[in-house]
């Protein structure tokens, strides 16, 4: 899996400002993150039974794997067979046995992000000592090694994207330490729905971006390809699970895996196509476009989209006293979709309404981040659209902007026909996004 889908690259050739992050790759958005994909080191065949045994073994050893698992909570009972599969949800969690696994099922409701940027984490604790001195105890960063099995490629791919933010002007010790302590085997995805659009953001359902190994379903189990030292080391540590491919079966399994991945890629490729350079230019030049004045209408401003997003990474920092002279500094997930995110102490709010806040979400993901880091801050997982209580549809909105951008760049006189046409389309702002 050394290749990003080549087709995805052709629409993109933007001249980005050269930053430290982009130097290595001639500033081709989409290309850099894919640099993180190493070439295949080793191939194994892991039967379904062997994978189950591995999960059980890890749990028994007290080092449970993190994997997609059926939820068992107040709303859906995973053990109740009468609950339709479509009504059952999955989540990433430390699995205590293979019976809990939900590999290749619906997308887990929260992304893998929580294992690297937890919803809340301690940065340090403080204590005021008798003499007026303050004693600080930083949160430990010596995380125990953990392994993730069966992660969605769109979740794994988000990690190198967020790495850039976490190592831009400051190396985030907690994020980096968790990244270093974690080995990730993702599972090529064959379960897409209308909200998925990974192929429109330089990825594909079998991208190995961010993964140490990739599982692909084949007859009798999974073809496992290791992609990094960590991936190799994990395979070497569990030789009874990672069976070397017998001579002769190598080709058949690899070909079968390739067919699976290609088929999945073709299915999702029809969902959305974006011209990122044009999109970015449109976003840069249309900060006050009337289009934005409708997008926030149905938005609740809750930020569920950011909670479930694998790439949204904003956090708030709070000091929470535990007692007199003693407390903890924590950081917690935050989101630009709430009205208090940009509220000044003076009472002024530069993003005064939800239209401005929703514009921020699009601008950051498809203009600001690409401008700074060369990629896009989105893996097309579609969680935001699925989880949105009011069915705000990111793919639809991106398609609408893409079409506006195409319309403008097609017209010779940008100030003339095209913008008139665009205005015509905006004249009846009745829905959040007319596509």
């Amino acid at each position: 899996m050394s290749k990003p889908a080549k087709g995805d690259m052709k629409t993109d050739g933007a001249q980005l400002k050269t930053t430290k992050a982009t130097k290595a790759t001639k500033a081709k958005p989409g290309a850099k993150a894919n640099d993180a994909i190493a070439t295949v080191r080793q191939r194994f065949l892991v039967s379904a039974d062997a994978l189950a045994a591995l999960v059980d073994k890890l749990a028994a050893a007290g080092t449970p794997a993190v994997a997609p698992a059926w939820t068992a909570d107040g709303t859906t009972d995973a053990t109740d067979a009468t609950v339709a599969a479509t009504a059952r949800e999955t989540e990433y969690r430390s699995v205590s046995g293979a019976a809990e696994l939900a590999l290749g099922e619906r997308l887990p409701r929260l992304s893998l992000k929580q294992y690297f940027l937890p919803p809340t984490e301690v940065l340090f604790s403080y204590r005021r000592n008798g003499g007026g001195e303050v004693e600080l105890t930083p949160a430990p960063t010596d995380f125990a090694a953990q392994v993730v099995l069966g992660a969605r490629p769109c979740d794994t791919a988000a990690l190198p994207i967020v790495d850039k933010v976490m190592n831009w002007d400051y190396a985030d010790e907690l994020w980096n330490a968790r990244r270093a302590a974690t080995t990730i085997f993702s599972l090529a995805c064959g379960v897409e729905d209308d909200s998925c659009f990974c192929s429109a953001v330089f990825l594909d359902p079998a991208t190995a971006q961010g993964a140490d190994g990739l599982l692909t379903p084949v007859d009798d189990g999974y073809l496992v390809e290791t992609l990094s030292d960590k991936g190799d080391a994990f395979a070497a540590a569990h030789p009874e699970s990672f069976a070397a491919l017998a001579a002769g079966t190598d080709k058949a399994a690899t070909e079968q895996a390739e067919r699976f991945r290609a088929a999945a890629g073709e299915r999702v490729a029809g969902h959305l196509t974006l011209d990122h350079e044009r999109l970015r230019n449109w976003l840069e030049n249309h900060f006050d476009d009337p289009f934005w004045a409708t997008l926030g209408l149905r938005c609740n401003g809750c930020g569920v989209c950011a909670s479930v997003c694998p790439t949204c990474h904003c956090f708030d920092i709070v000091d929470e006293p535990e007692s007199v002279g003693r407390g903890v500094r924590r950081r917690n997930w935050d989101t630009c979709q709430t009205c208090v995110f940009t509220l000044h102490a003076s009472g002024h709010n530069p993003r005064a309404d939800q239209n401005a806040r929703y514009r921020q979400r699009i601008e950051h993901k498809f203009h600001v981040y690409p401008f700074k880091f060369g990629d896009v801050l989105c893996t097309g997982c579609g969680r935001c659209s699925r989880a949105c209580p009011t069915s705000q549809d990111l793919a639809e909105i991106l398609a609408a902007i893409n079409a506006k951008a195409a319309g403008e760049s097609a017209a010779p006189d940008k100030a003339g026909k095209a913008s008139k046409a665009a205005k015509g389309a905006d004249a009846a702002p009745t829905t959040g996004a007319d596509s």
Partner: protein
């Protein structure tokens, strides 16, 4: 449906309102829509997918909606209760909004799907069975055909009974498990038509009564407060639970408090804004069995 569209069209044509807040069909299912032109009124739908409580958009703090002008809002019975709640609490004047009531036979739990599904006991929203306002009385217009009773399903009341039968420690363990998933995104609050405060107490930091860190301690404080602030006000529309990205069964808490205010104070939430809410009112002979 044409009833609904005609009413909306007339209101916009006559200039009575500048926007009709209703539902439209989209590729991901039904969703709220803001119709500002009579020509677009054929977008408006009402069917079993129209789960959203559109009264939420009447919150005057949703400035981008308020900026569209005077609104007509399409309301199911539960939405009409929320409008009544907002009127009861003086969020706007009665004549500041036009309500178009729809006769409702229940909705499904999720708005997805290209076609409205038949209601069954498996897909009906938890709030619908036993609904007492399937034809809201307090609206300006009532449209649509009379609808049958929603199908019966395992009721919230039964689940509450199961929890009530547990020991305090067992219930605490149950709720600790549920609330441990909360990330304090406040989607429950944002989806709630009656959570309209200019500044929510959880966003006040001097003093910081509720810890915003989503550890279970902060989450208990948040959810106890959310529930307590909605006691006797919650219309039971279930939007908080539907909005929750991690599936916390908030409907159980809300329904429990509906039971409590009924048992203690004989109060049932209604779509009549003239009926005062139980918290904020009192009777000199209120029960005080729990007070020494």
């Amino acid at each position: 449906m044409s009833d609904l569209q005609d009413t909306a069209r007339r209101l916009l044509d006559e200039g009575t309102v500048q926007v009709v807040i209703g539902w439209e069909a989209s590729r991901l299912g039904a969703r709220p829509v803001f119709v500002t032109s009579a020509d677009d009124c054929d977008k408006l739908i009402f069917d079993t997918r129209c789960v959203h409580n559109l009264a939420t958009f009447l919150n005057p703090r949703r400035v981008q909606v308020a900026a569209l002008g005077k609104a007509a809002v399409v309301v199911k019975g539960c939405d009409a209760k929320a409008v009544a709640g907002l009127l009861r609490e003086a969020q706007f004047e009665r004549d500041a909004v036009v309500t178009i009531g729809v006769r409702c036979g229940g909705v499904v739990s999720e708005p997805s799907g290209l076609e409205p599904p038949e209601l069954t006991s498996a897909n009906v929203a938890a709030r619908c069975p036993g609904c007492d306002v399937r034809e809201p009385a307090s609206v300006d217009f009532l449209v649509g055909e009379a609808q049958p009773e929603p199908p019966v399903t395992t009721s919230l009341n039964e689940r509450i009974g199961e929890l009530d039968a547990l020991s305090p420690a067992e219930r605490f363990a149950f709720w600790t498990g549920e609330l441990s998933r909360c990330t304090q995104c406040y989607a429950c609050r944002q989806a709630c038509p009656l959570c309209y405060c200019e500044r929510c107490i959880v966003e006040k930091s001097q003093p910081q009564w509720i810890e915003t860190s989503p550890h279970p301690r902060g989450n208990f404080a948040w959810h106890l407060t959310r529930a307590q602030h909605l006691a006797g006000r919650c219309v039971g529309c279930g939007e908080c639970e539907r909005a929750c990205p991690v599936g916390i069964p908030l409907g159980l808490i809300n329904r429990k408090l509906q039971q409590v205010v009924h048992e203690l104070y004989g109060y049932t939430v209604t779509d009549d804004p003239a009926v005062p809410a139980p918290i904020g009112a009192y009777a000199t002979d209120d029960t005080q069995d729990f007070i020494k």
